[in-house]
Amino acid sequence: MNWFRDKVLPVLTVVLAIIALWYAGAIALNAPWAYDKATRTGENLTITTLIADTWTQDKPKLPTPDQVVREIWKTTGAMVLRGRTWSKRSLIYHAWVTLSATVLGFALGGVFGILLAVGIVHNRAMDMSVMPWVIASQTIPILAIAPMVIVVLNAIGISGLLPKAIISMYLSFFPVVVGMVKGLRSPDRMQIDQMRTWFASRWQMFWKLRLPASMPYLFTSLKVAMAASLVGTIVGELPTGAVAGLGARLLAGSYYGQTIQIWGALIMAAVLAAILVGLIGVLQRVTLKRMGMLR
């Protein structure tokens, strides 16, 4: 019972408050359109008919939660039941397209980020020359880079998964570099002196001290990188001519004013991000527990 009072009740209260605000917001934002329609048809709106109308419009400014949930069910569960999971109209199909590019981009960004960090920590010239570029790379808006990457790679015959993964990598390597550089440098002066008293090689210093010491930093930055990967992929899907993926769904939705579809895709992206970041969290707990670093 205490568990319910301390853990479930507060969360439930916040969720209910958000839903209530959402419905109220839908009334406020969709009311002008309802009044418009009423004037045209000469109808007289009472409070109840007004509210009923604002919550059931086809292209509302702000769709209600139940509209979004129904849209998601229509494009996921219902499609599965009809055996059309991989149809172009299925959100599962689009989420899969986005997921595969995200995971590939994340893997590329993770590996690239770790390698860069190792180089930066071990080589003074790299530290001085590479770090400024790494930081500069993130000050350029990804929206400006994405179409160029797509077009350039398309010109040399590469299209589909890889260009999106590269854009995703462009965003995700950054937190990994920053986190890993900090992590690999986290051993203090004394620990490094101690290694020197044993005449340890640089390789032993890296393998036995720096790398294990960097693990908590690595996982924290991987979580940020995973979220950035997803954003990168979605942005990469916008200029592909809206073929497939959650980004394409967002773009198509905004072309045709399908706000419900946009929100459906948004919620799907959020769920995807939560699952992916959650998976890293599990990996973090398991790894640190095995290393004895979790009490």
């Binding site: 004394m190 101690q194 008293t197 044993w198 005449f199 340890a200 036995k208 693990m215 004895g292 670093m293």
Partner: protein, 266 residues
């Protein structure tokens, strides 16, 4: 120093040793004209106020700092060669155990680095953990141990490989008095058993007087040796020797030496 002048058995021999750090506020004379010989099997304490260079001197022996003038030999060779041949074990102020390794793994670490084979590693870990009374704690992680036990594990780690020289930089400085007394007693037993040469940096007059065969009193600005005291205490030292007349005399002379060094400031 008459008892350790034999050419063959000098473990540390420093002559006119100086070390000056160049800082933004001008040069700092951390060590100036240090002459000292330490014989095999001695237990030498370095005592003095902060900034007197006692830790710096220890770091020079360990090749963690380079002297700017004079010569120093460790085991008859330069500190760098001594470090490369892993001639000493160094115990730092903090235990510095790796949180991701068990006690066994931590003591094993230098052995792995030095390339001892697996069976030898296991035998050595077992032996040194028994030596510091930590048998049975192999599988524990450092955070599961008290501060005193962690420092004992770090001493075990420094003893695990074949170094005859043990350099200790205020190893018990962060521990409370009761634990410190206990560890001092254990350290003396360990020294008697292993026959190592120990250089021990401390802030504490009783600690220096209780442990040492030789006490080197140092003073700051510039860091130099003001007195070298050969202890008259017998090799066998129960804790209550600290109430004896000889002990008090040694402690008194150390205090005098420290005071003489401080007069320089006023």
């Amino acid at each position: 120093m008459s008892d350790s002048d034999g050419q063959g058995n000098a473990v540390i021999r420093a002559e006119n040793l100086s070390l000056t750090f160049e800082t933004n506020d001008g040069p700092v004379h951390a060590l100036q004209d240090i002459d000292l010989t330490i014989g095999k099997g001695e237990f030498v304490s370095f005592i003095g106020p902060s900034g007197c260079g006692k830790t710096t001197f220890l770091r020079v022996m360990a090749d963690l700092e380079k002297p700017t003038a004079g010569t120093i030999c460790v085991n008859g060779v330069t500190p760098e060669e001594a470090r490369k041949s892993r001639a000493y074990g160094y115990v730092f102020q903090a235990a510095g155990l790796y949180p991701w390794r068990t006690i066994d793994g931590n003591v094993r670490l230098p052995l792995e680095i030095m390339g001892y084979d697996k069976a030898d590693q296991a035998a050595r870990v077992k032996r040194v953990l028994e030596l510091v009374d930590l048998a049975g704690f192999e599988k524990k992680y450092p955070w599961q141990l008290s501060g005193g036990m962690q420092q004992r594990a770090s001493i075990a780690r420094a003893l695990a490989f074949d170094a005859d020289l043990l350099l200790m930089d205020e190893p018990f400085g962060a521990l409370d008095e009761i634990v410190r007394d206990h560890l001092n007693e254990q350290l003396l037993k360990l020294w008697a058993k292993t026959n190592k040469t120990i250089c021990f940096v401390t802030h504490s007059i009783p600690e220096a007087a209780y442990l040492s065969t030789k006490i080197v009193v140092m003073s700051p600005r510039p860091g130099r040796i003001t007195d070298v005291i050969d202890s008259p205490l017998p090799a066998e030292r129960p804790l209550d020797i600290r109430d004896s007349k000889e002990f008090l005399e040694v402690a008194h002379r150390v205090r005098e030496g420290l005071r003489a060094g401080h007069a320089y400031d006023d």
